[in-house]
């Protein structure tokens, strides 16, 4: 296990290194650069040229990348081309909000999805199952931006129960739990449905597996049977899905961040791409990628523990 974890860890480092090159190339491929974008609608071409020189964008790409990589190795994420501040500051500010949102979502997601998945899986075909499955299926099929708009329209504008956005929450958002309700609800809606369907499928297969049947024959009572014998096997696809969900939560909550004006990583990343702010894009992407890698690693380790046989497969 340790050996496996170390090998996977090493591979993650390689992955991140290659990714940084890919990301650099991708952003470099984009039309325009930080200087053109920065002076859009404000200044003429000569001013743009001057700014470009100041930002060092007139140097060859390889040189810029080397500089950046050198900085990274010495623990310096560089300075933002646009704001002029350190990238680490941008990172710190945006990561906290998203991480908080993701954490709250995950905290609710896991028990909810497990319970729904188990109940529907164990009662497959029953009325409960059909009703819950229909609801989850429909919820997975509602685009999250439509859902977000509807929730805001109902709970903030019509009923006035909940704040509609994080505008003006400043850095005090963590003191105001009501800010989390709607964004988390939108984030949960789809993920709970997808995850619980996975767990339902896993439950169905392990429900009929020989080991479950045998455990029942040996008199293991139902609740224990489900939690100790069935769930570990049923959870394998769920754990993998969860890793992807975590990744999605950290990087893909753009719609939610946009609608609720949450100052998070997704917003920061899109903005950085639009600004062609390469150092910021790099830092954000690598952070997200590193988190994704860690989540995948964790998921693989857990799956490996849950389904240890895979180690012999190759």
């Amino acid at each position: 296990m340790l050996r496996y974890a170390l090998r996977r860890g090493g591979w993650t480092v390689v992955q991140l290194a290659v990714l940084s090159v890919v990301v650099f190339l991708l952003t470099d491929l984009l039309p325009g650069d930080a200087a053109t974008v920065d002076f859009n609608e404000q200044a003429g071409l000569d001013q743009v040229a001057q700014l470009r020189e100041q930002m060092g964008l007139d140097r060859p790409a390889a040189e810029r990348f080397a500089d950046w990589a050198h900085g990274l190795l010495t623990g310096d994420l560089g300075t933002s081309l646009v704001g002029g501040g350190p990238v680490s500051g941008v990172l710190a500010r945006s990561v906290t909000a998203t991480a908080a949102l993701a954490a709250v979502t995950l905290l609710l997601l896991v028990p909810l999805a497990v319970v729904i998945g188990l109940v529907t899986g164990l009662r497959a075909g029953s009325r409960t199952d059909r009703v819950v499955s229909a609801v989850t299926l429909t919820l997975t099929s509602v685009p999250d931006f439509v859902l977000a708009l509807l929730l805001v329209a109902l709970f903030s504008l019509r009923l006035g129960w909940l704040p509609s956005t994080w505008v003006g929450a400043d850095d005090l958002w963590w003191q105001r739990p009501e800010l989390f309700v709607l964004p988390v609800a939108v984030l949960l809606a789809r993920t709970v449905c997808v995850l619980s369907r996975q767990i339902r499928a896993g439950t169905l297969t392990s429900l009929n597996a020989g080991y479950t049947v045998q455990a029942r024959r040996l008199g293991v009572p139902p609740v224990r049977l489900v939690l100790r014998h069935l769930l570990p096997n049923a959870a394998v696809p769920g754990v993998q899905e969860l890793a992807r969900t975590g990744d999605h939560l950290l990087g893909g909550v753009l719609v939610v961040e946009a609608v609720f004006a949450v100052p998070g990583t997704a917003t920061a990343l899109v903005e950085a791409v639009q600004n062609r702010d390469v150092p910021t894009v790099q830092a954000l992407t690598l952070t997200l990628a590193a988190v994704a890698c860690l989540l995948n690693l964790a998921a693989d380790l857990v799956s490996r523990r849950l389904a240890p046989r895979t180690e012999v497969l190759r």
Binding site: L218, G219, V220, H229, R309
Partner: protein
């Protein structure tokens, strides 16, 4: 004594088929009752009914009472049936490989069961004590390493014992064991016999379902005979299954009886080493040399977990992590991926755990017939015709042919798998414990078919099996494997009469179950030697 299990008029139907027809039997505490009958006679179905269970599509009716609780009534399983499971009756299934949870460590499941069913088991040390005791009784070491293993880290025979330990740790009043001796070497089987007698002596009611008449004779006081879903006889074992003549008829080596070691080598493996994980880690075979002459039969025996299956898979080209040379009629034989159709046809392999090798989506006959289509270029119609012919010779009916693997009994499938290999008309046939689920009639059909092949087509046979009686019947040469190395080899008669290694002697000494009572229980193997440590 008051019987623990009482069955009256038990009937099981699947569709229009009647699987059990008004079966009645009783199992009393303090003795071993055997349920014996040909393959497919309904033993497993009856045993499951004792727990109020049945396979999907099977309906139960009749009356089953276990320790005063009604488990099956006239209209199917009773409501209280679940309450007897584990605590009162514990069942060990026919294919224990299926019954072990791949995600749970052996020890934790045992402790859990102990906590559930044993008085005072709620306390951790007590539960651990029960678990250790169950492991020891089942013939496994009770050390931490074993308790921390996952099921896939055991060999076929070891998994059988893990399943047995799970049954024992519940401390039930009655145990139902479905073919507990399949896949066990003679030593382990002897131990098992001893265990069963001891269990009975402790006042537990034991119901033994087995084809292994020697085992039944050795341990069972009473026997119930079944045939086609009916109880045909019931009584003292000694009356129903009279003991065989002391020395089993050593059938003369069949056929042309080529001079030992003589004849052209059909299959020859030299200095074969095999390992489980990349980088030669987890070595399971070391420098094994096996030779199977044309029309000859070489048997491979050895304790459970000694590497027989791995050897067979190397020869069949399925296990790729090996080195050394394998040749077919002198021509080097690569791994399966690189074999030509002619070479594939030349070497055929019959699986040990056969259920897994059938596809659930196609009928069994369809799958069996494919061999002839692909390897002999026959038309599908012709192939099915030939398949049916082999099929019937092995004692299967055409009614079985249209079914899917899931609804065939263990023995039926085993024969289907053999038919699948035979349709290739191979030059070399590798049989990995293919009679473990067969009754004597079917076994005879199988051995006859093999003998016919050797005589008729000069097919060479590599026979893997624990049943030394069959080995004597079939094999010319004998190879004894232990912990992945050859410890004894040569002419079968020579090896058996003057064994050179301790392993062989041990296997031989344990072959007659009658000695069980006298000889006491042999010490369990050292697990660490059998299975490679994993971590």
């Amino acid at each position: 004594m008051e019987p623990v299990i009482e069955v009256r008029g038990l009937t099981a139907r699947a569709g229009t088929a009647v699987l059990l027809d008004r079966v009645g039997l009783t199992v009393a505490p303090g003795e071993v009752t055997a349920l014996v009958g040909p393959s497919g006679s309904g033993k497993t179905t009856a045993a499951l009914a004792l727990l109020g269970e049945s396979a999907t599509g099977v309906r139960l009716s009749g009356e089953v009472e276990v320790a005063g609780t009604t488990v099956v009534s006239a209209d199917g399983p009773a409501r209280l049936a679940p309450s007897v499971r584990g605590r009162v009756v514990a069942y060990m299934p026919q294919h224990p490989a299926h019954a072990l949870n791949p995600a749970r460590r052996t020890g934790s499941v045992l402790a859990e069961l102990a906590r559930l069913h044993r008085p005072g088991g709620g306390r951790r040390p007590a539960a651990a004590g029960y678990a250790a005791e169950a492991l020891r009784t089942a013939g496994l070491p009770d050390d931490l390493a074993t308790r921390r293993r996952f099921p896939h880290q055991f060999s076929g025979g070891q998994r059988q014992r893990v399943a047995l330990a799970q049954v024992l740790v519940c401390g039930p009043r009655a145990v139902v064991l479905d073919e507990p001796s399949t896949g066990l070497d003679t030593v382990a089987r002897l131990r098992l016999a001893g265990e069963l007698t001891r269990l009975a002596a402790d006042g537990i009611a034991v119901l033994l379902l087995s084809h292994d008449h020697d085992l039944v004779r050795a341990v069972a006081t009473r026997t119930v005979l079944m045939d086609r879903g009916r109880v045909t006889a019931e009584g003292r074992t000694a009356d129903l299954l009279p003991a065989r003549p002391a020395a089993p008829v050593p059938a003369p080596a069949p056929g042309p009886a080529p001079s030992p070691g003589g004849g052209r080598a059909a299959l020859h493996a030299r200095d074969l080493s095999a390992w489980l994980r990349p980088g030669r880690r987890g070595e399971v075979l070391r420098d094994v040399t096996v030779r199977v002459p044309e029309a000859g039969c070489t048997a491979v025996v050895g304790p459970s977990g000694s590497g027989k299956t791995v050897l067979a898979r190397c020869l069949a080209g399925l296990h790729e992590r090996h080195d050394g040379q394998v040749s077919l009629f002198g021509e080097p034989l690569p791994v399966l991926r690189h074999r030509t159709p002619r070479q594939i046809r030349g070497v055929q392999y019959v699986w040990q755990e056969v259920r897994n090798s059938f596809d659930e989506r196609r009928t069994v006959l369809e799958q069996v017939a494919r061999t002839a289509v692909r390897l002999r270029g026959l038309s599908p119609r012709e192939a099915e015709r030939r398949a049916m012919r082999v099929w019937e010779r092995l004692g299967l009916s055409s009614e079985h042919a249209a079914r899917h693997a899931g609804s065939l009994s263990g023995g039926e499938l085993q024969r289907a798998a053999l038919a699948r290999a035979l349709l290739a008309e191979p030059a070399v046939l590798i049989c990995d414990e293919i009679t473990t689920a067969l009754d004597e009639v079917s076994t005879r059909a199988v051995t006859e078919e093999i003998t016919r092949l050797r005589e008729g087509s000069g097919t060479a046979v590599l026979w893997i099996g624990h049943d030394l009686r069959l080995v004597e019947l079939l094999a010319d040469d004998l190879v004894v494997l232990d912990a992945g190395t050859v410890v004894d080899h040569g002419d079968r008669r020579a090896v058996l009469s003057s064994p050179r290694s301790e392993t062989t002697r041990l296997l031989l000494r344990s072959r007659h179950l009658g000695a069980a009572a006298a000889g006491g229980t042999p010490t369990p193997y050292d697990l660490r030697r059998e299975g490679q440590p994993h971590s």
